[in-house]
Symmetry: none
């Protein structure tokens, strides 16, 4: 009896298979990549992963949650090291990465999740931490280094600058649906540099 109580919540019963976690995420990723996001169904994910619906619902509360998971994995693959190059180079590279994501196959899923966050507090937090703050942090963390390296002033209002930088990309790629070329990025970054130095 005490054994059961001790175990409860941690290791009781058959443990969840991590392989299934991976299978589900993988299936969801592929489906989001190759068909309109609106047509991706929990059922289709279950079918593709060779898993029952209940197995999915046991891990995530709904499609949006899975999608966030998928997006997080994708963004994790986009590493932006800040070494041996100037802050300007760093920003250019970073924004090129963001451009790829926002104009690629996952754009639709990203907007869908953003839409969902409008009246879903929980998802909003998850998405923010997994995606937004991660990017913002990359920019700001490196800004600190830049300040220390003397490439940037120390008295600027960080918030607004990155709102401008990221906002322009989200707006132009997801709302206006116009492309962004390297020249556009460099001018954007120069505009930022000008404001912080």
């Amino acid at each position: 009896m005490s054994k059961a109580l001790l175990k409860r919540g941690s290791g009781a019963g058959r443990p969840r298979s991590q392989a299934l976690d991976e299978a589900i995420i993988e299936a969801a990723t592929q489906l989001i990549e190759c068909m309109p996001y609106g047509e991706v169904t929990i059922e289709s994910i279950a079918l593709k992963a060779g898993v029952s619906k209940a197995t999915i619902y046991r891990r995530w509360p709904n499609k949006s949650a899975i999608t966030v998971e998928v997006l997080l994995r994708q963004s994790l693959q986009m590493q932006i090291p800040f070494e041996a190059v100037s802050y300007r180079e760093h920003l250019v590279t970073g924004m090129q990465g963001l451009r790829e994501i926002l104009s690629g196959v996952f754009a639709e899923a990203i907007v869908a999740v953003i839409a969902e966050t409008q009246n879903n507090e929980v998802l909003r937090k998850i998405f923010y931490q997994a995606f937004i703050s991660r990017m913002q942090a990359i920019g700001e963390a490196d800004l600190e280094k830049a300040i220390q390296l003397g490439e940037a002033r120390g008295d600027i209002t960080k918030g607004m600058i990155f709102d401008q930088l990221f906002g322009t990309f989200y707006y132009r790629l997801l709302v206006v649906h116009k492309s962004i070329d390297d020249d556009y990025i460099e001018r954007m970054v120069d505009s930022v540099i000008r404001q912080i130095s």
Copy 2:
């Protein structure tokens, strides 16, 4: 005789009631205002407008299309005259208007439509013309006046500047979910002014 020939094919049959157009739009507007967008249903709109479902589907192909119509009407009410004030004042007032819309009851609907436009070319065009280009035009039209008044240089790249301006608002209000105060707006506008003069 020729009169009849000319009319044939265009005005034949019972004409659609404009009163019903209004009733439907009005009902949709109210429902979008007072409940989560996801819970607004074609059926609920029909019920509220005192209209049959077919009457709605005869005019719009789906919920998104009606929503664009609703948003257009809303944006039309947001008139921003440019008289007797400086271009700076004008921009500040305009952005305050955009802030109201993007942080008000219609924000959810706007994002939902943006999500829908990701893989719906037709809707994308309608939404762009009805909403995006209208705002962009307001900014740019007045910029022309500002240039003529000597308040702005003539050789700037308009596109990017307004991408920055609008993008920041969309991003901060709809994605990051942080508020924008008057001070923030003024600094944004000053930043724009600085770039164009």
Copy 3:
């Protein structure tokens, strides 16, 4: 005033076009012939006849009524003269005609109308007069002649005999969906003859 009253209902206004009556009936006939009865629509009839829906509804209250009209025309083409042959020959020929109708393209429409008559008193009367009583009358009228010719007794219960005769055909062709060959008909008729002589 009295003038108007006198006219009302007779000749005032533009008279209905008989040509359209024919066009509608013809279109309905062809559609019933070549597609499942359930798929024949007032709208499809209107389209095929090059006529508006209102023009049809001005003449008949619903699809069943048109169908009865169509069936009547068909049955009128099936004339069974009783001349120079025995009553037995006459019955055989008549039943062969009924067989053709009940196993042809109009069978479906006939059953549909019969179904409709179950809770539609008005249609029931129309159908009865246009179709059932016409056939029954053919049998009975000739029975009178047969009695006078000495081919039949005068004291038989006519009702039941023809119920048997027609009923067998309706049941076997429309309900059981088995065919009826000439031998079957002759045995049926002989059975009837035996009972009346």
Copy 4:
């Protein structure tokens, strides 16, 4: 292990609730009994049975299929034992039962199903086995006994006789809409007896 393999594909997943089967049939039966068949809706059945539409469509493809099920249950309740009475008595009793069904609340549903069978092979077979052949079999099975008991000849053409017997009832009650009294039945049966002995 082999047990599991054998079962797989047949008994996997949550089994369908038999209680719901009953609830649906019961609801359909009551609705067919108390309102015009044309007004009985899948939705009304679902509502009355306290069941979702999908649960009904999972079991039957459409209203006709449910109706056949209902009719089968009704006909099963009409048992006609053949004991201690003559074959003539038996036939009279049986036909009285058929009369009750064909002139009762289910007549409308029966004709509707018959209409549906005209261009629906699948339904035709189901209806035939569930309803027609069952009645035919009752008559014929007892005829065998009658032959063995010496009440009937052994060389008669069974098919036509029962076509006559049943056909007369269907035709008179469902098509001509005239009633059938006990005297009529006895004369019908006598006519049959005369033909088989």
